[in-house]
Symmetry: C2
Subunit: 121 residues, 2 copies
């Protein structure tokens, strides 16, 4: 089973975390047969943590876990913290494939999507 885990920074503002949870629900509803499980995890302020999120996917029987960093810009989290946590979980679960997708800001096709949307405003 393939799992998708959206990773957000987490915010002290409840509304921002709720936006992440709403997007997670949208991803889940539209995943079809691409992902058997879709959830989210947070790096600060909110649970589940990234470690907890990965463990939950593995506990549900995921053989592949794809992490989707919900960040517009690269930075310490993407360069250091997420890879470090992933390396530890990968070591704990050598039979599970854990991959990190490009962050949102680096998603191919984002420019076209934004242009299309902005032109329709």
């Amino acid at each position: 089973m393939k799992a998708l885990l959206l990773i957000a920074h987490g915010s002290r503002q409840h509304a921002a975390n709720e936006e992440v949870q709403r997007l997670t629900a949208r991803l889940r509803a539209r995943a079809n047969d691409r992902f058997g499980h879709v959830s989210c995890a947070f790096l600060q302020f909110v649970e589940p943590t990234l470690t907890e999120g990965i463990e939950a996917c593995v506990g549900l029987g995921a053989t592949h876990v794809t992490l989707l960093p919900y960040f517009l810009a690269a930075g310490q989290y993407l360069a250091v913290e997420i890879p470090r946590t992933v390396a530890a979980r990968q070591k704990a679960h050598p039979d599970v494939t854990i991959r990190i997708a490009p962050h949102v800001g680096a998603t191919p096709g984002l420019a076209d999507l934004l242009l299309e949307m902005a032109a329709a405003v």
Copy 2:
């Protein structure tokens, strides 16, 4: 002439601002006939400011300026600061139409784009 102005928060980390500038260049290259001018503006740390960015568009002859907030989550900037600046510029240029597009996190089609990208990783 229609102008597109990407609005980013701005960062003390140079690399993050460069990512915004690269996306702006990508938007410009792909705008075709949808926008005659594409640039970016920042709310903190980096210039041009939002006011300067709007003024530059108007100075170049824009009759429509579409602001595209490069934010994943709504918050004070989207709710208060951007609309306040826009209202002041709109008052200064009553013949120019200034519109604010949904922020990136609220872009229709984002979930599908992310699912497609994550499934290909």
